[in-house]
């Protein structure tokens, strides 16, 4: 393990020496810092300079504060990171105050995405907390001239059983010599608690904020209220790519209580109420002249457009064997093209922010986005101030699903607040969120495969156009493959979505595997197992098939009742899904009746939290599988509302049977994404089993049209 004096893995900092913000919020005491040098030594990506990944602060009054750059948006990192700190400090979870995503206090952890919190942030949080515990032990041993191995830490109190002496973290924090004694001298190999000894981790600990959530006390970003605050509205272009040529602002400027801001193409209105701001916007919006940039692409001709605009200049095909030879030697080949619509994340809380400039020229922005430091950079750049004069705080926010990497509302609020000289609140309308938040990429996925005479796959050619390379590899054993992700020209703004392109890639791969199973005349489960070596994936697939009763139910398929399965691996976790669908042939409707899913992501840190995430993925996956599609024309979103854009509701909930496998001999992986990937292909495969119709477009529909609610 790399360790040199100038870049210690652990540091104790006397927080009176730290920035004012630290002192104000944390008080005096000891600050313990972990850098990613440790993380990189454990196989995680490190950077050239050691980057702080976790902080734990012990206050003289006994308060224990853990600090994390991650964002809570419903997926549960607040609970999980609090559990990690509590476990290693040997205290109950209510002793931990966790500060998240405040750029003045927390380490820069980039964005909260990619199921990274569990594998990349829980381990250093445990290390930081274990270090604090170790410090206490060593300090006490030194004070008492005792053997540190004979001391016990329990409930935050260290005890010398033989003498009855007691000491707490507060005593440690009060000690003036401790910082000097231990600075830069902490062992990097502090032992974290073995899984078999866990008391807080591994438990179904409730959300620390649950009480505030059920009583309405929790303040989401859109709930932040500041004295003297104004409510903001922003002028939006009529279509993508349109630029503002001119606007007559006089009608709004004549409204005495309204502040009008124009900076280039940005036009904002701040008023004492959101209604008043909307009136100001409405008063001038019709005077705006726009230069539009129309493109002759709609959601109806989208997939042909994406194929015509393929850009493979940056493509890096992944190949094994020779795809040409493999296909040439095959006794049977099959081609198919799968497609995916654009969809929106539609988190319940749209983008929101409040910005307040202080007399010192520093701006504080409370924002609903998942990259606090990116938001800080964006605000600094837009307002022409150094990043140090921007503080971004992300209150636990109302959903994201990969859709809130960008910080538009933060920038808008900061601009208007600067001009108004008063705090300004911005919250996008649902229509703004549908229109101006980026979409999950649409895709065309071209598949070609070959079978030999023994029903074995000998060639696998798989190309994703536009959506990306996440989950594009096949877990099945095939000697000749060519797998590639290529770009295209997206006609609507697109970006991340829960599990990225793995949803589309798994949809195409798992449906196409079914096509190959059908071509070989084999049962889809048998065909998959014949090609599958990954023991974790085999285990979940076999478990799901058994729990669902696959072998018996597959024989009972009728034209009105189908069963299907799918499996996949992503983000170092594995999932298998079995579904039963009912087909209403007259109405052309697919009704998902039952979903049985088995998921495994290593040791489970919080079973109840993980169950929520898996159930959530299942229901969200159902939306993309069956209904969700952004419709657009002339650069305008046509269905930007919850009336026109159908999301899963209570009436769509099938019988759901989730089984979580707790695999304890590997590190924990995140669980908030991968459980979505099997839903659409399992449904598509079940529809095929019942009807003989292979649906190759998400959302899956037996008839055209009709996504409204």
């Amino acid at each position: 393990m790399e360790n040199n004096a100038s870049t210690p893995l652990f540091q104790t900092e006397d927080s009176s020496l730290s920035r004012r913000g630290f002192l104000q919020v944390l008080g005096s005491g000891i600050l313990i810092t972990v850098t990613d040098r440790l993380a990189s030594a454990q196989g995680f990506a490190g950077t050239a300079d050691p980057r702080v990944v976790a902080r734990v602060h012990l206050n003289e009054d006994g308060t224990i504060t853990a600090l994390s750059g991650k964002v809570e948006e419903g997926q549960g990192p607040r609970t999980e990171l609090s559990q990690a700190a509590a476990e290693e400090l040997r205290v109950s979870i209510d002793r931990i105050r966790l500060i998240m995503a405040d750029t003045d206090l927390v380490p820069d952890d980039g964005i909260t995405a990619g199921s990274r919190t569990t594998p990349a942030n829980v381990p250093p949080m445990r290390q930081a907390a274990a270090t604090a515990r170790e410090l206490l032990t060593e300090y006490a041993a030194r004070q008492w001239q005792a053997d540190p191995k004979k001391l016990e830490v329990n409930g935050g109190v260290i005890t010398n059983k033989s003498t009855g002496q007691l000491m707490t973290y507060a005593d440690l924090a009060k000690s003036k010599e401790v910082v000097a004694a231990f600075a830069g001298n902490i062992r990097p190999d502090v032992a974290v608690t073995a899984l078999s000894e866990w008391k807080v981790l591994g438990q179904s600990v409730p959300k620390p904020t649950a009480q505030d959530l059920v009583t309405g006390r929790h303040q989401f970003p859109s709930d932040i209220t500041r004295p003297n605050m104004l409510y903001g509205k922003v002028l939006r272009a009529p279509s993508y790519g349109a630029t503002l040529e001119s606007i007559d602002l006089s009608a709004a400027q004549a409204m005495k209580d309204v502040v009008v801001v124009r900076e280039g193409g940005f036009v904002g209105f701040a008023a004492p109420t959101s209604h008043r701001a909307a009136q100001a916007l409405e008063a001038v919006a019709k005077t705006a002249a726009w230069k539009t940039n129309p493109r002759a692409v709609t959601n109806r001709n989208l997939h042909a457009y994406l194929k015509e605009h393929v850009d493979d200049s940056r493509a890096r095909p992944n190949a094994t064997g020779s795809i040409e030879k493999g296909l040439a030697a095959a006794s049977k080949t099959v081609n198919a093209s799968y497609t995916l619509a654009y969809i929106q994340h539609a988190p319940m809380e749209p983008r929101a922010a409040v910005a307040e400039w202080g007399a010192d020229g520093k701006v504080t922005v409370w924002a609903g986005c998942d990259g606090p430091f990116r938001a800080r950079r964006d605000v600094a750049e837009a307002c022409g101030v150094p990043a140090e004069r921007v503080r971004v705080i992300i209150p636990d926010m109302g959903g994201g699903f990969g859709g809130k990497h960008s910080a538009e509302a933060a920038v808008e609020a900061a601009r208007m607040a600067k001009a108004a000289g008063r705090p300004v609140w911005v919250r996008w309308t649902r229509n703004e969120e549908f229109t101006w938040a980026y979409c999950r990429p649409a895709a065309v996925i071209e598949c070609k495969a070959g079978l030999d005479a023994n029903h074995s796959l000998v060639a696998w050619d798989f190309t994703n156009i536009n959506a990306g390379g996440a989950g594009i590899g096949t877990p099945y054993e095939v000697p000749n493959t060519r797998i590639v992700s290529v770009g295209s020209d997206s006609p609507v703004p697109q970006g991340s979505y829960r599990v990225l392109a793995a949803t589309g890639n798994n949809f195409a791969r798992e449906c196409f595997m079914d096509e190959m199973a059908a071509a070989s005349g084999l049962d889809p489960l048998r065909f998959r197992l014949n090609h599958l070596q990954n023991p974790r994936l085999r285990a979940v697939l076999q478990e799901a098939a058994e729990r669902f009763g696959w072998s018996a139910r597959v024989k009972k398929v009728t034209p009105e009742l189908g069963v299907g399965l799918a499996c996949g691996t992503e983000k170092n976790s594995v999932v298998a899904t079995c579904v039963e669908v009912g087909i209403d042939r007259k109405a052309g409707e697919i009704r998902v009746r039952e979903i049985c899913q088995v998921f495994e992501c290593g040791p489970i840190l919080n079973p109840a939290g993980l169950l929520s995430q898996v159930q959530g993925c299942i229901m969200m996956g159902l939306g993309g599988a069956l209904f969700e599609e952004i419709q657009f024309e002339d650069g305008k979103i046509l269905n930007g509302s919850f009336t026109a854009y159908r999301v899963p509701r209570f009436r769509d909930v099938p019988k759901i049977n989730v089984h979580l496998m707790n695999k304890t001999d590997i590190p924990s992986a995140g669980g908030g994404e991968t459980p979505i990937i099997g839903i659409a292909p399992a449904i598509g495969n079940a529809v095929f089993a019942a009807t003989g119709t292979r649906l190759r477009s998400m959302p899956l529909r037996l008839r055209q049209g009709g996504t409204t609610d």
Partner: protein, 155 residues
């Protein structure tokens, strides 16, 4: 033209002077600083804004504040009594029926309204009563369990 309106919010008489066309949701949040009631869609299709008006469910994002005059409004802030949670709130806690929790106030109030009308709802009645509320995280299974639990607790 502003008007002066009086209504009861969580048992307390409140008077506001405002444009009567503003939505009740906005007046609750911006004038009375009761931010527990959420905006989700502005068209009464997601239930984040649900409050009770005279005990019945209402989508406050659709209700002009003038229509609330002289009526009695219950928001999520007014559901617990003397620090004791309403049985529906308690049931949501016990089931862990929230993830981001943004839909939770509306879910809780829709469930309260449902159980007032149907103290022993069937599963079909729970679906029908709650279908106007959207959760995206997506907690329908646990929320349904919470409604069942609250119904059981009320028996």
């Amino acid at each position: 033209m502003d008007v002066t309106l009086t209504f009861k919010v969580n048992g307390v008489e409140r008077t506001v002077t405002t444009d009567p066309e503003r939505k009740l949701l906005d007046v609750l949040r911006e004038d009375l600083h009761l931010t527990g009631t959420k905006y989700g869609c502005g068209e009464g299709r997601c239930g984040a804004c649900v409050v009770l008006i005279d005990g019945r469910r209402a989508f406050s994002c659709r209700v002009p504040v003038s229509a609330a005059a002289k009526r009695s409004i219950t928001t999520i802030e007014g559901l617990a009594r003397n620090g004791v949670l309403h049985p529906v709130q308690q049931a949501f806690l016990e089931e862990g029926a929230m993830q981001c929790g943004y839909c939770t106030p509306g879910m809780v109030l829709s469930a309260v309204a449902l159980l007032r009308e149907k103290p022993n709802p069937t599963d079909e009645e729970i679906v029908a009563g709650m279908n106007g509320n959207v959760c995206r995280c997506n907690g329908y299974v646990k929320i349904t369990n919470a409604v069942r639990r609250a119904a059981k607790a009320g028996r």
